[in-house]
Symmetry: C2
DNA sequence: CCTCATATG
DNA sequence: CATAAGAGG
């Protein structure tokens, strides 16, 4: 069971750069995409379907903004679009597929980089999301959360921790939130598999050749319910895929 | 004395397509540009200056919209920016250089293609402009008007006159205006030199390969005071220049 | 430094 | 079918 999460920075743009060939090659069972940036016209998912995927979309209300999607080879027993809270659902940030033995929750968490107001919104979201997931876990024992968290937790998760102690995505509040979230009973698949390895990032700014110099952040995560931890077979970053300012992140579970 | 008028559809875009090399080659004495689409930052004209031109700009108030410029090898004895009527000058539609024996008035006339309101604005403009030029001629005997008129006059001035009898740029009102304007004492340099030749256009829509099929309109004109008519040595379209959806139009005067 | 929507042509 | 600004990242 290979699950991939990928912030594509515009699905149409990523498709124009060969995303589909990459999907065929990578062959995930479940593919979680963020920032699909769907426009006013519905996205054409027929080429994903031709590869054997069912498509589930949760675009934002605002055209060209945010939005998540899941492509799955197996049909889920349930699809849950959104989280039931309007201010988040208007921004297309949550989509969940429930399978027989596990669930995949795809999320695109707010970025706080555009100003104080959005950073405050992000912090509210983080609080909300932790509670929301706590509730879900009561009835969904095998939860896998994949997405662009727009946060990282430890100094080894970004290139320049010292100068970013108060940058959105690495503020003390966000680091604490991340630790608490994991303590609720989740395993960071990447860390589980790679220990304290540094220099592994999933996002690089487009500016000044940051990706070529590997000046990045690890913002995209696959967190698995601690009960699934023994089933983690592999996890990592797929840095060869270049359709976005993020790279795909994968986990293989024995399910 | 070679005068060229050219709607560049964005000066920065045209420069990125090699406009400057073309200018060096074409070597006009006076170059009238329309739709420079200047942004908030002032345009960098140093490369024109390096070619020996003085630069005169009349950008629109709104960034990225409209705007005209004249580049001249000889220094004018006067520069007149705008026409003194705010609603037109905010859109950067008129710029004039007065030389010893003649004047060059560069104009970008409104397009009416975006709706009735703008077509009405265009018709008001046409009326205003005719009066404005009548006044100018009282004191400027050698007037040359170059620009994108966004109008043509005769069936031979566009590819498909029949189906465009009521299209903006070829409405009865605009055709009549054009005839009246010439009757006031101007010579259309292109027609003077090429008679009733058809199939000579200065604009082609970007859509559906119109330029390759020469499905166009003759919207860009050089009108010279009838008193200068004997001095017209050559006139024509420079269809090899491809930096825009328009092509440059030239006249050579013996002055 | 990117993608996207929108205005305008 | 293009250019360009502007929002958002």
């Amino acid at each position: 069971m290979k699950i991939i999460t990928y912030n594509v920075n515009g699905l149409r743009s990523a498709l124009s750069k060969g995303l589909l060939d990459w999907v065929r090659e990578a062959d995930p069972d479940v593919l979680c995409l963020q920032e699909i940036k769907a426009g006013r016209e519905p996205l054409d998912v027929s080429e994903f379907e031709a590869l054997g995927y069912r498509a589930y979309l949760h675009p934002a209300h605002k055209p060209g903004y945010s939005g998540v999607a899941i492509f799955s080879k197996q049909p889920p027993k349930a699809v849950v679009v959104g989280c039931g809270t309007e201010c988040y659902d208007l921004e297309g940030r949550v989509l969940r597929l429930d399978f027989e033995d596990f669930s995949v929750l795809n999320t695109y968490m707010p970025s706080g980089t555009s100003g104080d107001e959005r950073q405050a919104f992000k912090l509210e979201w983080l609080r909300f999301f932790r509670e929301y997931v706590r509730t879900l876990r009561a009835t969904l024992p095998g939860l896998v959360i994949g997405g662009d968290f727009n946060c990282c937790q430890r100094d080894i998760d970004l290139h320049n921790a010292k100068t970013n102690q108060n940058s959105p995505g690495f503020t003390p509040a966000e680091r604490a939130w991340f630790a608490d979230f994991l303590a609720d009973g989740f395993t960071d698949a990447f860390r589980h598999h790679h220990g304290d390895a540094s220099g592994h990032y999933s996002w690089w700014t487009f500016r000044s050749g940051a990706r070529a110099r590997n000046v990045g952040w690890r913002l995209d995560h696959l967190l698995v319910d601690a009960g699934l931890q023994p089933r983690i077979k592999a996890a990592g970053h797929m840095t060869d895929a270049v359709h976005s300012d993020h790279c795909p992140v994968f986990v293989e579970l024995v399910i």
